[in-house]
């Protein structure tokens, strides 16, 4: 447990599921007015224990409209200044609001049970109440994994447990080399060490990447259309926005040297970007333009490559990380022969052929037979019903949705505490690796392993002699 008085924030309603509302609770800030920059409404008018309506804003962008209730300390649950925010029940909104307060207002995510802990230390709670909570939660001091962790889906649970096992092995290997050096040759020790390190690193990296990439993207998932000039990018862009099932936001998208629009589809909001807007006239600027579109492409959540099979596309085909390939000019003769080479090269991604004879006005069509199973595979959905004989472009949008749901679903590491801990653990591991390259001093390495262990315990909530109190409070639900 951190025994600091830093302000803390947590979503009291869990926050990882969609719901009607989510309640975010902030405690320990010095003064309500110090939070003014996050609200559009004048906070001096916000009276304690009354409901106050305001937008939550981040640099003029509205994150959500919220109902606020302010409890002035000591007349609050924790005995400190407390602010409760009733937000709309979208996990992404909760995520972004919490991030606003942690990144710009000096809050940190509360540890499990920290609100209760503060209430206890501030004399706001009697022991009998804690004892009662304890019984209700059936807490057990030998509990290995905390509640927040258990509530996660099975696969991730197993992965974390596995990571802990690999860590124990790694630590044991190091300890063995110190305390039992004589029983083991240097060579054998090195083999054991390499093995332990390798296993731990592979799994940690997998988890770290899971916690990192998608989540940043999932807050504002970007769908980027990329490809050579005149391949048909803008036509596809317009098609996607025009589709009757997709609603184009009334507010204007960010327009710089590329065109971007907000697109709502099946309850999610995406930003759709057409890199065609990047001008490629003079050589110098062309370089800049390509650089910029590359950057957009790299951070994109969903990557659409548009190619005209009648052109030389060898360089473009080397592009990595494509989610979906669109082949244009289906209307031209010999399209099937030209397209065949792409079918071979992109056997694992969805391909859609479009007829762009009249750009912007003609509906897309599915390339014939061989592509159906590919589509199925990539979109993770049933083979489309072919009653209309013509499939529409919403299949691209379904592909986007499918990927989003997959990443935001059970496999993503979206519990902020885990995200934080994974980032710190990863950093700590990298430091350990650097050190192990430059030093043979096992004492220093073991020291590094120990700090790695401390970070890891944060992550998986394993009880240690030093952090038993954390464990105690980890048996209480966060924010309660």
């Amino acid at each position: 447990m951190h025994y600091d008085d830093q302000p803390i924030i947590a979503c009291s309603t869990g926050g990882s599921q969609s719901a009607a509302i989510h309640l975010v609770r902030l405690s320990g800030f010095s003064d309500l007015l110090s939070l003014q920059a996050a609200f559009s409404g004048p906070l001096e008018k916000c009276r304690p224990r009354t409901v106050f309506l305001s937008d939550i804003v981040e640099q003029k962008q509205v994150l959500d409209q919220a109902m606020l209730i302010y409890f002035e300390g000591p007349n609050s649950y924790t005995g400190e200044n407390v602010l409760e925010l009733n937000l709309h029940g979208n996990p992404l909104i909760v995520e972004r609001v919490m991030e606003l307060f942690t990144s710009q207002f000096g809050f940190r995510h509360a540890k499990e049970g920290e609100f209760t802990y503060r209430a206890l230390t501030n004399g706001k709670m009697q022991l009998s109440q804690v004892e009662g909570l304890d019984l209700v939660l059936n807490a057990n001091s030998e509990l290995i994994l905390n509640q927040g962790f258990k509530s996660l889906h099975g696969e991730l649970y197993l992965k974390f447990t596995e990571l802990y096992r690999y860590f124990i092995k790694l630590k044991a290997t190091v300890e063995m080399q110190i305390d039992f050096a004589e029983d083991m040759g240097q060579e054998q020790a090195q083999i054991l060490m390499d093995e332990a390190l390798g296993k731990f690193e592979n799994l940690l990296e997998e988890l770290y990447l899971k916690s990192r990439g998608p989540l940043v993207d999932l807050a504002t998932p970007e769908v980027v259309i990329y490809g050579p000039t005149n391949a048909g990018k803008s036509s596809l862009f317009n098609q996607l926005l025009k589709n009757e099932r997709a609603i184009v936001s009334p507010e204007a998208g960010t327009t710089r040297d590329y065109v971007s629009e907000n697109l709502h589809y099946k309850k999610n909001r995406y930003s759709l970007t057409d890199t065609a807007g990047i001008r490629q006239t003079s050589n110098a600027i062309e370089g800049q333009g390509i650089k910029r579109s590359r950057k957009l492409w790299d951070r994109a959540f969903y990557k659409l490559l548009v190619l005209n099979p009648f052109e030389e596309n060898r360089d473009w085909m080397a592009t990595e990380g494509i989610d979906f390939l669109v082949l244009s000019h289906k209307d031209r003769p010999e399209f099937a022969q030209k397209a065949a080479i792409y079918l071979e090269n992109y056997s694992d991604i969805g391909i859609l052929a479009v007829d762009l004879k009249n750009p912007g006005s003609i509906g897309p069509e599915l390339l014939n037979a061989p592509i159906e199973p590919l589509l199925e595979k990539s979109l993770g959905q049933q083979t489309p019903e072919l009653d209309s004989q013509v499939l529409d472009i919403t299949y691209i949008l379904d592909g986007v949705t499918s990927k989003f749901n997959k990443l935001a679903g059970e496999n993503a590491i979206i519990v902020p505490r885990h995200k934080e801990a994974l980032a710190v653990t990863w950093e700590s591991f990298k430091r350990f690796q650097r050190l192990s390259l430059e030093s043979y001093d096992i004492a220093i390495l073991s020291n590094e392993i120990n700090s790695l262990g401390i970070n890891l315990q944060e992550l998986i909530g394993i009880i240690s002699a030093d952090e038993v109190l954390d464990d105690l409070f980890s048996n209480f639900c966060i924010g309660k």
Partner: protein, 623 residues
Amino acid sequence: MEHLNQDQNFFDILIIGGGHAGIEAAHIATQFNLRVGLLSMPEVPLASTPCNPAIGGVGKGQVVREIDALGGLMGKIADASGIQFRILNESKGFAVQSTRVQVDKDLYSQCATELIARNLLISVVRIKVDKIQKIGDNFIAEGSDGRSYGGKKLILTTGTFLNGRTHCGETVETGGRVDKPSSSALGNLFAEVSVATHRFKTGTPPRLKNSSLDYTQFVVQATDPAAFNFHSLNAPNQRQQKQLDCFLAETSPKMMQEIRKNKERSPIYNGQIAGVGPRYCPSIEDKAFRYPDKDVHHVFVEPEGHNRQTMYPNGLSTSLPLEVQQKFLREMPGFETAEIMVPGYAVEYDVINTTELNLQLEHQNVTGLYFAGQVNGTSGYEEAAGQGIIAGINAALSLLKRAPLILSRNDSYIGVMIEDLVTDLRDEPYRLFTARAENRLFMREDNTINRISGYRKSLELKTELDDYQERYSKQFKWLSELCREVTIKANPANRKYFKEMAYGELTSNIFLEELLKRAHLNPIETLNNECLARGLSFDPLIVKGVAISLKYDGYIKRAEVQGRKMLKLGQKAVLWDQLQGNKNISFECRQRIAEIRPETFSQLQRIVGIRPATLAYVAGNLV
């Protein structure tokens, strides 16, 4: 009673057991000018080394130096009888290096006997104790000769003698090396002092005739002249005995098969021994049965002394019958004609429930009664001696009505060990590993005096040792400051010098400290060079200590910051006697608290079965 008080058989402190714990306790108590009676078994030499002939080792070397810095005997005796010195983990970094000394077993006991005999405040009585009683505030021990011995404090360091039984194949004898003493010897104290539910077991290998082995088949391990003596007042590299070699041998598949064939005859595997042996020190039977796929294990062949004909095959501890021992031994390369002088055997014994002790090693139900050494469930001479000196100091301090001495687990291995012992029970003999210490980078051999001199000073004994430690601390501080303040200018002369010394580049002015921290340099050699270059001469102990301390400085500080948050709460004192009557705490928790009697919050945390709500309540009331 009254007549006994006048009697010369009544002492300030009575100690039962003349092993490593007993002699340390006796010696240190006399430093406070107290009279000590040391009752020791007839025919067992003082401070005998019945198992392996070595003092020190990883973690244990630190303990020996801690004992030495507190004013104990072990380092002095080991130096005087050392026939081989080695630095373990030499290639693995300074913080994990430890000294181990092979000792001449006869010389070791002889040296201990002389030190004790010369001490006029210690009366050694050779007697077997039949019964102990507490009468009023005093303790009375009745010897088998019918005489009584008394003391105001009693320290029990009885080793494996509590209900001990030895096993060698099917032959079982009562006694922890000798016959008959049992827990009934605790007399009327038996009701107050509980014994752990598990019996412990330990074993020892057969001793072999040194001329019967073929040393050409072994790898020679020679003594290391660079290793420092244990005792700080001895010249670091001066040896008092002629040095001998040790040897490295290996087991063979045929030998392991022979052992596996005789599973039914092994007391450990046929149920004859119920005691739990240490996992870190497995018998050869354990190795054979637990690792059926591994046939090649290391065996260290160690001399037991200049005048002994025996070699100690370290790694071959066994309780198989003699003829089986003989048979499997001869299947080992180099052991084809090996002759057994003393067969290997196992000992089973009771240990007391150490959670009933406090951090001074005093029993919580019997004021004035202290326990130290193997009877507390530890293994190893060093662990025993470390407890002995703490029990001796605290018995003395208590008698003088002074504040107790408690070593912290953050600056000493003795502190780690005692806190571990009193906090919870283990199901195997306790041995110190460096892994048990949270603060390993700091708890090194080279800075022992820095870590311990404060404790030693608080005893106010003012001997030669105290003068030395004060001089040491002053010089240490002086040299450390010098390293932090001396600048090496990046001028052509220094650049040339750096090149000559292979110090690396010198692109800008640096402090001497920064040079010492360069990864490719040995900080001790470098600091030695730089001292010489400036015409400075320091005690080699200080040069080593300063160089290594500076090297680890940054790492230790970082670890401290990490640990501080956790330590802050953990170090807070817990009033267990108030908690055990507190109705806000559940009945089961109060029971556990009354049993274990935690003195700090971290101890409370480590007790198995303490409920979260209890911790919350206690923490809430501490913060």
